[in-house]
């Protein structure tokens, strides 16, 4: 089965980051003598795929913005559609494009905090058990 919804939301960003990080990871592995030809091939493939996806995303966004700007030229700015297109060119901006990154960062922080809390809980449970056993 495929968990999550491929291609949506944060999954895409997460895996893009992972793939882009692979050459760095391989370099570190090589320094520790742990890089293999198989891992290098895998890293090269996924990294290339990530670069291609990024280029396609940037190109796609550029085309969308171009399309909206062209549409603006032909529409009466006072009309409902003209106002919508005008607002849309403001929405489709780099700041908004970075929104998923902020969400992703927030998710990472939440997960780190959760892990820390669970670890503390586990240690506390261990202390209680040791006390009970009279250690």
């Amino acid at each position: 089965m495929a968990a999550g919804i491929p291609g949506t939301g944060l999954g895409g960003i997460f895996y893009l980051f992972l793939a882009l990080f692979m050459p760095v990871n391989e370099l570190l592995a090589a320094l520790h003598g742990k890089s293999t030809s198989s891992s290098r091939r895998s890293a090269a493939f996924s990294f290339s795929m990530a670069i291609a996806i990024l280029a396609a995303l940037v190109g796609h966004a550029w085309l969308m913005i171009l399309g909206l700007n062209e549409l603006k030229e032909y529409l009466d700015p006072q009309s409902a559609l003209g106002r919508s297109v005008n607002e849309a060119t403001g929405i489709v901006s780099p700041a908004v494009a970075l929104l998923p990154l902020y969400v992703f960062g927030a998710l990472l922080v939440m997960l780190t905090i959760m892990r820390y809390v669970l670890k503390r809980q586990k240690l506390a449970d261990k202390d209680v058990r040791l006390d009970f056993e009279g250690v």
Binding site: I5, G7, G12, A52, I53, M64
Partner: protein
């Protein structure tokens, strides 16, 4: 589940040290193809065991006619996991493979998968899954979904040492480790995910082998698809509930599951509710949100489709993926609502055909 196996007369010494388990409930139509694809492997299994889970369509007869071992529990076990566990006492080989009754393997599928298990700490290995038939909207959507997941996501998961799931339709295991885990648990609707995450918590490794290809029959209509999506979405939520504390300890996997959960729940809600509301109340161009990530899906899918000589099939199947994704989002949200809010877990395993 201590082994009390005696070698059946259908056992043949092929050197693979592999037993293949094929759980089947009313699979007479597809079973023969599956068995033949197993018998003609470059490295054939030593034994193929079909577990006929009280079928009523002659499944046993089809299997026996092809010379494989057939086991029939005294009553329906209720799930694929139950059927596979029923056969575990009969497994005497070093490796055990589980293959769905509607799944054909590429001729070297077994050989490629077994190679990954030669490393002692590797407990399980899974292969590349592609739908056998790509005709209906649902099969086409699943085709694109698998191309994307198995070309981009899964190799990355494998590189970092944690493939998310060893797919139940085609996976191989070290028999001793599988037995030590108690086989496949029936506590969730996604026994393959449950087993995979349990293996990780016991510090075992799981590998993804993209060269080992299998072709299951995927749902061809909405009725069949809805049963499968229901099972998968509930299975995912059930496994997250069950394993979340253990997952928090596992490097990389905790991130993968957290992101998958976010996508399944929050992204689905944004997809189904937030974007349409924003489009209606603020600006209709918020609907562009549905198009924004098209390149992320298209690039790996078209690449692999072209490599397989299936470019036209891939391009014409892309729209179906976005329909399937929409439907998938609905099932995920429903599953989350029922499992976590209403506390009404899905307990009945239904394959749907």
């Amino acid at each position: 589940m201590a082994g009390t196996c005696g070698r059946s007369s259908n056992c043949q010494s092929t050197g693979s040290s592999l037993t293949v388990l094929v759980p089947a409930f009313n699979e007479a139509e597809s079973l023969a193809d599956t068995i033949r694809s197993l018998q003609t492997q470059t490295v054939p299994p030593e034994e193929i065991i079909v577990i006929d889970d009280c079928s009523t369509d002659g499944t046993s007869e089809v299997a026996r006619s092809l010379g494989v071992t057939v086991l029939r529990p005294p009553q329906n076990t209720g799930s694929k996991a139950g059927a596979q566990n029923f056969a575990m006492d009969s497994v005497c080989t070093e490796f055990t493979m589980a293959v769905d009754a509607d799944t054909m393997l590429a001729p070297d599928g077994v050989e490629k998968l077994l190679a990954a298990l030669r490393q002692k700490n590797v407990a399980a290995a899974c292969g590349f899954v592609l739908p056998r038939n790509v005709k209906s909207l649902w099969e086409r959507g699943r085709y694109v979904e698998y191309l994307f997941a198995f070309v981009f996501y899964k190799p990355i998961q494998d590189y970092y040492g944690k493939p998310l799931i060893s797919s139940g339709c085609f996976s191989a295991y070290r028999t001793d480790i599988l037995r030590s885990m108690g086989g496949w648990s029936m506590r969730t609707m996604a026994e393959d995910m449950d087993l995979t995450w349990s293996l990780y918590q016991k510090q075992y490794e799981v590998r993804f082998v993209p060269e080992a290809v299998c072709y299951p029959i995927e749902p061809h209509d909405f009725h069949f698809m809805s049963k499968q999506l229901k099972r998968w979405s509930h299975g995912f939520i059930q496994n997250v509930s069950m394993h979340w504390k253990g997952l928090a300890e596992l490097d990389f996997l905790r991130w993968v599951v957290a992101v998958a959960l976010w996508d399944a729940v929050i992204a689905s809600a944004a997809y189904l509710i937030l974007l349409p509301l924003l489009a209606l109340l603020v600006n209709p161009f918020f609907l562009l949100g549905y198009l924004v990530d098209i390149p992320a899906v298209v690039v790996p899918v078209v690449y692999k489709g072209a490599r397989r000589g299936e470019l036209w099939r891939t391009l014409t199947s892309l729209p179906s993926f976005f329909v399937l994704r929409f439907v998938n989002s609905i099932f995920m949200l429903k599953a989350m609502w029922k499992e976590w809010i209403l506390r009404k877990p899905l307990l009945t395993y239904e394959k749907g055909h």
